[in-house]
């Protein structure tokens, strides 16, 4: 039993990270119906930004976190402005392929400047751990949970209560109608990229600290898994992305615990296949009728 509880803690910390990345996928999809495959690489840039500011400029954790979120947010806006905006009314497949291209550009530009070898962080957070009854939880895991929860609450607040959030919801429901109502669609889309990418940046620094190992291709696999999480939760749905992320993290952990560690990736993709066959809209996705 204690092992089971401990595995839940492991699953939650992994899942929180997937959830943070999945949010960016889902927000971007919700608003412009684009699977932004470069999103995993924005997360990688977050990890590298944190590496640079902590190693070379000696930032402590919170300033580094803020810097990462700002840098990634701006990068997200830049990617949208340069790569996706000119293609906004092209067929979806064009934008999708562009997204894959952007992903490679980011990965190999980073590899060129930072080298392709693994990098490690200086110690930013204590790795002391606490014994809570039968389970053991480390300071770093607590930070991951808390930061994920705070950021998600903040996101809910922005989307539900602010003017910009209302504009985002409006654009996501019907872009043309939103435009007629006087909403600046371009700015709203930029803002969505800003928020989504900033969350990925936060995930980047958290992963960097937790695993203490980053490399230019680190975004690929977590990016894909977060995408699966977003699909599982219902792509376009924000609470869905959170639930999906936690579920994927938990599924992966439980497969290792009670099956074989070699199936950890297989289970994630198996979930994707099952969701697409059984309930393509995902857990909380809306069943929209195709507009003709």
């Amino acid at each position: 039993m204690s092992q089971f509880l401990q595995q839940i803690v492991n699953g939650l910390s992994l899942g929180s990270i997937y959830a943070l990345i999945a949010l960016g996928y889902t927000m971007v999809y919700g608003i412009i119906k684009l699977i932004n495959f470069a999103h995993g690489d924005v997360y990688m840039i977050g990890a590298y930004t944190a590496f640079i500011v902590t190693t070379y400029f000696g930032f402590s954790f919170f300033p580094a976190l803020i810097t990462c979120m700002v840098v990634c947010g701006l990068l997200g806006v830049l990617i949208e402005r340069i790569a996706y905006r000119p293609l906004r009314h092209s067929p979806r497949i064009t934008a999708l392929i562009t997204a894959i291209g952007v992903s490679y550009v980011i990965e190999y530009t980073t590899a060129y400047f930072m080298g392709s070898e693994k990098r490690t962080y200086p110690q930013l957070l204590s790795n002391a751990s606490f014994q809570l009854g039968p389970i053991k939880i480390s300071t770093q895991q607590i930070y991951i949970f808390l930061i994920t929860i705070v950021l998600m609450l903040l996101l809910q607040f922005i989307i539900q209560k602010t003017k910009m959030g209302r504009a985002m919801r409006a654009v996501s429901t019907d872009e043309n109608a939103a435009k007629l109502m006087g909403i600046n669609v371009d700015n709203t889309i930029s803002f969505t990229f800003l928020i989504g990418s900033a969350l990925a940046g936060a995930a980047g620094i958290l992963v960097g600290i937790y695993y203490n190992s980053i490399n230019p291709l680190m975004g690929m696999v977590p990016g894909l898994k977060a995408f699966v999480a977003a699909v599982f939760g219902g792509i376009g749905s924000i609470p869905g992305a959170m639930i999906g992320g936690l579920f994927i993290g938990m599924a992966e952990t439980m497969v290792i615990a009670y099956g074989s560690s070699l199936y950890r990736d297989a289970i994630v993709y198996a979930i994707l296949i099952i969701v697409l066959i059984v309930k393509p809209t995902g857990l909380l996705g809306k069943n929209e009728r195709e507009k003709v």
Binding site: Q7, G11, S116, Q123, S129, T253, I256, S261, L262
Partner: protein, 393 residues
């Protein structure tokens, strides 16, 4: 080392290799070596992973090989001048074959040193043997890497021990010296990881131990928390990690933070300054691994090499550089002694009694692998303080 994922590529390479074989025989290139005249410049091919995933190994070896050649040329008592011809195999087996053909046919090298990894090395053995050009792999540790079926490739050699040998050495050390009874094994799903893990398990059992848990991971994994939580209660008193530093470092870190404080042992995949950065130096206690190279109790020759290397490249050498230095010197010594290339040079290598910085050795003619002892080194706060020689019976 790192003979993993290249199997598929190696298969593809076979086709290339056969083509190469055809071309060399059709052009009638059947010479079996030539005599050298005093003062001749002898070309030595340096085929290394200068770019790609394992470029850190290849670059370290290239540097050391060039250093050996430079030192040879600086000596006044030598008969020939040596020249290193560098090529980049990009860590790719097919590319490695292509580069070996180029070195042999276009540059006319007397021998090839490299590549660093097993997959890329094996891909050159066929062409080398067909063209009577010895190839010496500094660190191709994969089990049976030198074998072409039942017999070894005639012109292929290595100066490192085999993975299974390391696995056996560590099992003996764990059972007899550390007095461990129950082992948990975590290995990478590669030839390297599986070769080590299987041999460790077999030998550990022979020495009275038992294996109570066995887990595997893929190269590139970063999260080991659930795996460690799973095996934690199995009651092991030694943890064998058969993999490379990039994952082993993380496993050690996560295991120590998870309260696993028994000895953690491993193989030469741990050999990297990155291990300390990844695991954290406070976690690197009660950690041992097998290696061919240690600076603890270094000989004068080894110290001289370390000084020269550090002076030239502004960084400390590692196991890979030491092995490549030995491999290059082995070739240079035999060239100097025989004054011939081809068959005669190869015969001389076969009979060599070589004294290198990674130990003295002769070749086992059945496997083309040196007979040398394995070093087990410890870690105290991430620093080696002791080295013990282990012999495998």
């Amino acid at each position: 080392m790192k003979g993993n994922m290249w199997k598929v590529l190696a298969a593809g390479t076979m086709a290339l290799t056969m083509l190469a074989g055809c071309s060399s025989s059709s052009t009638g290139k059947e010479e079996t070596g030539k005599k050298l005249n005093e003062g001749d410049t002898v070309k030595i091919g340096l085929n290394f992973e200068l770019s790609g995933d394992v470029s850190s190994y290849g670059q370290a070896e290239r540097n050391a090989a060039q250093l050996a050649i430079e030192q040879y040329n600086e000596r006044s008592d030598t008969k020939f001048k040596a020249e290193g011809v560098e090529v980049d195999d990009k860590g790719d087996a097919a590319e490695s074959t292509t580069q070996a053909i180029k070195l042999i046919e276009e540059d006319g090298v007397a021998a090839i040193v490299g590549p660093a990894t097993s997959g890329a090395s094996i891909a050159t053995y066929e062409v080398a043997t067909q063209n009577n050009t010895p190839v010496i792999s500094p660190s191709a540790t994969q089990v049976n890497a030198m074998m072409n079926g039942e017999t070894p490739y005639e012109y292929a050699w290595r100066v490192c021990f085999e993975d299974s040998y390391q696995g056996a050495a560590m099992a003996i050390y764990s059972a007899d010296t550390l007095k461990c009874k129950k082992a948990a094994i975590i290995n990478e799903t590669s030839d390297y990881g599986q070769g080590l893990a299987n041999q460790f398990e077999t030998t550990f059992k022979e020495h009275g131990g038992e294996v109570v848990a066995h887990e595997q991971y893929n190269a590139g994994d970063t999260d080991f928390a659930s795996m460690l939580t799973k095996i934690k209660d199995s009651g092991f008193d030694v943890l064998y990690i058969a993999g490379y530093y990039s994952e082993a470092g993380l496993i050690i870190k996560q295991a120590r933070e998870d309260g696993i404080d028994c000895p953690i042992v491993g193989a030469d995949g741990f050999e990297s300054e990155k291990l300390v950065q990844l695991a954290g130096k406070e976690n690197l206690n009660e950690v041992w691994y097998t290696t061919a190279y240690t600076t603890v109790n270094a000989s004068d020759e080894l110290n001289a090499f370390i000084d020269a290397y550090t002076k030239k490249y502004d960084q400390a050498p590692n196991m890979f550089s030491a092995l490549a230095y030995d491999a290059t010197n082995l070739v240079l010594d035999q060239l100097e002694a025989t004054g011939a290339t081809g068959e005669e040079l190869n015969e001389a290598i076969k009979k060599a009694n070589f004294e290198g910085i990674t130990g003295s050795f002769t070749f086992d003619e059945k496997t083309h692998t040196p007979v040398k002892s394995v070093m087990v080194v410890n870690q105290v706060d991430g620093v080696q303080t002791e080295a013990t020689e282990v012999k495998v019976d």
